[in-house]
């Protein structure tokens, strides 16, 4: 999924992945083990509000069943 999102333009970073979408949005992917022992993957996408350094963030989380 991550490679599709970034069209292969990504790098391993911080134990996860960091890349960019076609519109310049930054996308990351990380995984962690939650309190109940299940796995969770987090994929935040961030863009800067035009003319500012303010980040707009959309975050998707997938939890293992």
């Amino acid at each position: 999924m991550f490679n599709v999102l970034t069209r292969g333009k990504s790098e391993a970073r911080d134990g996860g992945q960091l890349g960019k979408l076609g519109d310049g949005s930054v996308v990351q992917m990380s995984a962690r083990i939650t309190r109940d022992g299940s796995g969770e993957t987090s994929v935040p996408l961030s863009t800067e509000r035009t003319g500012t350094k303010i980040k707009k963030v959309i975050k998707v989380r997938f939890k293992e069943e």
Binding site: D14, G16, V26, R32, R35
Partner: protein
């Protein structure tokens, strides 16, 4: 507390004085964090180590203003990250579970990083993190704050 046995938490945070911020930092928090690093290093441009991936990834970063800290904060989403001034061992810690950010260090660092009394810090943390209860975080913010907070109490 769940998650307090990670390699980075044990090495850099456990048992040390800290200040607790809601996750993630506001630009105002970033200003205070930058000001604290600036004070401790006696420079507006501060060379720090950014540590992640359980200590396997370490890179040098320079922060020259609050926006540089804001950028680092933004990229810490979903990751456990330590931003450390090596000479003083003052640092910022981002929780991988996105529950809190900590400033860790001595009095000189912490009194700039979080220039509020403890009751104000606690009030703010709980107020800003209450929304997490709707997203499946099963520990109330009061419990998380109590577990992680270790305010400076020395002279």
């Amino acid at each position: 507390m769940f998650g307090d046995d990670s390699q980075l938490f044990m090495r850099f945070v456990k048992g040390r004085w800290n200040s607790v911020y809601p996750w993630s930092l506001s630009i105002v928090d970033c200003y205070f964090v930058w000001a604290a690093f600036s004070k401790i290093s006696a420079s507006e441009r501060v060379l720090l180590s950014r540590i992640s991936a359980s200590g396997k990834q370490i890179e040098e970063v320079v922060i020259a203003n609050a926006h540089d800290v804001y950028e680092i904060d933004s990229r810490a989403a979903g990751f456990e990250v330590v931003l450390r001034h090596d000479a003083s061992d003052s640092l910022c810690y981002w929780d991988v579970h996105e529950r809190f950010v900590l400033a860790v260090g001595g009095r000189d660092f912490l009194e700039v990083a979080s220039p509020y009394p403890g009751d104000i810090e606690k009030h703010r943390y709980i107020e800003e993190m209450m929304h997490m209860e709707m997203f499946g975080v099963d520990e109330p913010p009061e419990a998380i704050y109590a577990a992680v907070s270790n305010r400076f109490s020395g002279k």
